[in-house]
Symmetry: C2
Subunit: 244 residues, 2 copies
Amino acid sequence: IIVAANKILAERRSTPVARLIKRPLLGRHVLVTSGPTHEPIDPVRYIANRSSGKQGHAIARAAAGLGARVTLVTGPVALPDPQGVDVVHVETAQEMFRAVERNLPADVAVFAAAVADWRTAAEAQQKLKKSGDKPSLDLVENPDILGNVGKLRSGRPLLVIGFAAETANVAGEAARKRKSKGADWIVANDVSAPTGTFGGDSNTVRLVTADSAEDWPPLSKDEVALRLMQRAAEHLGRGAAAAE
Amino acid sequence: IIVAANKILAERRSTPVARLIKRPLLGRHVLVTSGPTHEPIDPVRYIANRSSGKQGHAIARAAAGLGARVTLVTGPVALPDPQGVDVVHVETAQEMFRAVERNLPADVAVFAAAVADWRTAAEAQQKLKKSGDKPSLDLVENPDILGNVGKLRSGRPLLVIGFAAETANVAGEAARKRKSKGADWIVANDVSAPTGTFGGDSNTVRLVTADSAEDWPPLSKDEVALRLMQRAAEHLGRGAAAAE
């Protein structure tokens, strides 16, 4: 009986372990935002940004490949929906925020979208016309999606990862952003035009955590995504081990 | 000798005539603008509009199909370059204006692009940061490409065609725009969201000329393009006949 019981226990142990080696995010829910947001000015004009969504979509694919159930909340991009991923299409920052709230809880939340910081104070109902006046657009701040989720008191994801797309002082801004947003990790990169990061297929990032900052070599966005999700799986694994 | 001469003359006449039936824009240069323009706010943000470029690109294809040499000046679109057309890619209204100037003279100029009326007064060199202030964007008017070409004193195209994308009072705005811009024809359409014109494959237009206004039935953008270029060819043919 003892032999049989040990055998059953061994089988029970080995099966999930073997599975976890290849699919370490099995049973986890990963929420990813991707792409730009578009903030309407009037029925035909909007404020946009140069995010292609390639990095965020790659993270969603990588997480799914590692076994996670993945929800991808994406702004307007020219990319196909990744297979095996629940995709929610949004246009504005406010819509993205609501979609994120609706799709929590998650074990890991990755905010890779380039969310517009501002929207126009009032969207015009008709197309704005030229006039003699020098026009100006009044802007108001959009909801801070990363900051809101990072500081959740209940239902906060185990791991909250933000992105910092900077054009100057990348390292300093990333460390500052990690603290101010309540994020666990910040993936920082330089998106100034000469780097070709926005729209391009490769990315040179710095991963800032509570106790380290690592500069990763230039990698494809797929490789950045896979490394990041493997690290996320290790982090969750350590958390589970520590809790036992 | 007379018989031989007549035969040669007949051949000379019949060949171009036969050719002109199928390729009535042969020997003509048609300049077309298409797509939106993007006006940078800072290194990552810009103001855009919902033009897909489908109508403008269709016009370039139709003109080439009717035998014209075609120059297409296009803003950022997700469309392939039409075959057999010289394509100039631009991003901002100012770049589009310079590309149009460089590619004149033309027999026909079609301004189908949705050019941004305004650009930011000063593009920020670094990414703008959130601050406690309520921000606003100061805007300045962009060059009026249609108006400038419509009012050219020398080297004006024989036929200047503008587009009026309106969300209200389409007929009134089109007639006003035709006069104020010095255009020969205005192709007016309603681009309010329910019509699905922006981004869609069909278009319901009103052609406003000096002495008529025609409402065309709903047509594909390719059909609108072909009709418009056939009408342009007829117009040029009448002009050539009148000049003889």
